[in-house]
């Protein structure tokens, strides 16, 4: 049977959006994400909440192989958001990645164009753990001085891939990191060391 979406779509999606906005505006800070959903496995409540709050018929969504494998996840997202799924990560407005350790190279996703850098993919990664602490050292807009973020699992090629993504600024992907109940953002404007 199809799992339920937001019980209160207006205010729950507003709450999720504000957490996402804060996470991207203040990289390195960790935000609570109100995710009371019970989506079909392996979709996590956090990935589902972000997808339901931000995607619709205008946003092609790319699902990683783990999410695309079962029929349930695609059906759940299609019913609740109306968003078309795409097999081509370079055409995706949003990409949902359940298995961070198998995340494709960031260069596979849309980076935008010099005239329209906003046409890039927003990557939403499910992680097990996000902590403030030694790991990635972040500087850039939105960060007072510097911030440190410890992530697990760390996707392949990181943090070099993040440095490369930032080097292409104003082009590049923007990344949302979602662990159980916790959300952090890594926009392309953030310089990463570590």
């Amino acid at each position: 049977m199809l799992r339920a979406g937001f019980r209160d779509p207006v205010h729950e999606s507003q709450g999720v959006f504000r957490a996402v906005l804060d996470a991207l505006a203040r990289p390195g800070t960790i935000h609570a994400i109100p995710a009371r959903l019970d989506p079909p496995a392996p979709l996590t409540p956090e990935l589902a909440a972000i997808a339901l709050a931000l995607t619709d018929g205008d946003t092609p969504v790319w699902l990683d192989p783990a999410l695309a494998a079962g029929h349930d996840v695609a059906a759940y997202l299609r019913f609740h958001t109306g968003a078309p799924t795409t097999a081509d990560p370079a055409r995706a407005a949003f990409a949902l990645v359940r298995e961070a350790e198998r995340c494709p190279p960031l260069a596979d996703f849309a980076a935008g164009t010099p005239a329209y850098p906003d046409t890039s993919t927003t990557l939403v990664l499910a992680l097990d753990r996000i902590e403030a602490g030694p790991g990635l050292r972040l500087t850039g807009p939105g960060i007072r001085g510097a911030a440190e973020l410890a992530l697990a699992p760390l996707p392949p090629g990181w943090p070099a891939a993040l440095r490369e993504n930032h080097a292409g600024f104003p082009l590049g992907v923007d990344i949302l990191l979602a662990a159980p109940g916790r959300l952090a953002g890594l926009p392309r404007s953030t310089a990463v060391e570590g």
């Binding site: 209160d8 996402v20 906005l21 505006a25 931000l54 005239a115 939105g142 600024f169 404007s189």
Partner: protein, 351 residues
């Protein structure tokens, strides 16, 4: 029209003569215009209505609850904060990209709002997209909480979203502005939403959008420096006093909206998130917190702000941005703080 065959033929004129049954054509009868304009002219409406009027159509209450279970908390039948959810999602996605590329103008599908362009339709759409039930909204027009634009936008959201409003900068979580930045220092929990008329800083130097877009893509901002240099060669100093161009995070040149240049330094390294909405021009842009915002200048002509040679006539404080107020028709005038909340707070403190 009961008989379709007679329609429009002279041989069988319409059984209903022109004007027949229309009481409003009768001299002395009031026009059935409703409560608004003209409703009171000619005394109270007493005649019969020109057409039998059907009862107003309301969706069945149960159906309404199912369709929008929690929509709005205000006293009006709008979705929460007026905009529909699809529009909010579109604006929210634009805001996320604007924050990720500070100073870059993201195109968005601006909607018609129940107010004319120039009254803050861009700012209102941004505010509507971010507002939540627990937000406290402050709206200022220049620095004032009590002018038409500020009052009507504050009431608009009080009505359509049922949220709390305030005039105190410190109490607000969302502040919509046209165009000043409050004097009370902003904090991390606050979001400043600017109403922007012309978002493109290069527009008066290059009218073609296709060209200005390329200039931003290539970070080709020489023209702006030429413009500032021409100011110096003509006036001896940079004569731009509002909408003074800034460079955001070392990359994009941005129009800070027609905020007086007095406020430009407040944008730099600001703890609050700054969002900009231009409704008619359909652009959204942003400055994240703690971001370098540099007013363009030259080494030998550094950026300076206006200074005032007198204190505020109401609170007596110096070093604040003042408005000139004409007080009579005999040349009387006074200079008072533009930021009404900061001025009132100072006067309360003095008492």
């Amino acid at each position: 029209m009961s008989d379709a065959r007679t329609f429009g033929t002279d041989a069988h004129p319409s059984p209903r003569l022109r004007g027949e049954g229309r009481d409003d054509l009768v001299v002395g009868a009031a026009s059935p215009k409703g409560d608004g304009e003209g409703g009171a002219v000619g005394g109270a409406f007493s005649g019969e209505l020109p057409h039998p009027r059907l009862p107003p159509l309301f969706a069945d209450d149960d159906v309404g609850k199912t369709l929008s279970p929690q929509a709005g908390r205000g006293d009006a039948a709008y979705n929460f904060a007026y905009l529909d959810e699809g529009t909010k999602r579109m604006i929210r996605r634009a805001l996320l990209k604007a924050v990720a590329v500070p100073g870059y103008q993201v195109p968005f599908a601006s909607r018609e709002m129940p107010m004319p362009y120039g009254w803050g339709t861009g700012g209102v759409q941004v505010t509507a997209a971010i507002l939540g039930r627990s937000d406290v909204l402050k709206v200022i027009d220049q620095g004032a909480d009590d002018t038409t634009n500020a009052v009507s936008i504050r009431r608009f959201f009080a009505k359509t979203a049922g949220i709390a409003t305030t005039t105190r900068t410190g109490e607000a979580t969302v502040i919509q502005t046209r165009h000043r930045i409050p004097e009370t220092p902003l904090t991390e929990g606050q979001t400043l939403v600017y109403q922007v008329p012309i978002p493109e800083p290069l527009r008066f130097l290059e009218p073609r959008e296709t060209e200005t877009r390329q200039m931003h893509a290539l970070a080709e901002y020489g023209l702006m420096h030429v413009k500032l240099y021409e100011d110096i060669s003509r006036h001896g100093h940079i004569a731009t006093t509002y909408a003074y161009p800034v460079e955001v995070a070392g990359r994009y040149v941005m129009d800070p909206s027609p905020t007086p240049k007095f406020d430009n330094p407040k944008m730099d390294d600001c703890p609050a998130l700054q969002l900009f909405g231009a409704g008619r021009e359909r652009r959204i842009y942003a400055v994240p917190p703690y971001t370098r915002v540099r007013s363009l200048d030259f080494e030998d002509h550094p950026f300076t702000v206006q200074s005032f040679d007198r204190p505020c006539a109401l609170c007596g404080a110096e070093g604040h941005y003042l408005d000139e107020v004409v007080t009579d028709d005999a040349g009387g005038r006074m200079f008072i703080c533009s930021d009404t909340d900061a001025c009132e707070t100072r006067r309360e403190g003095a008492q």
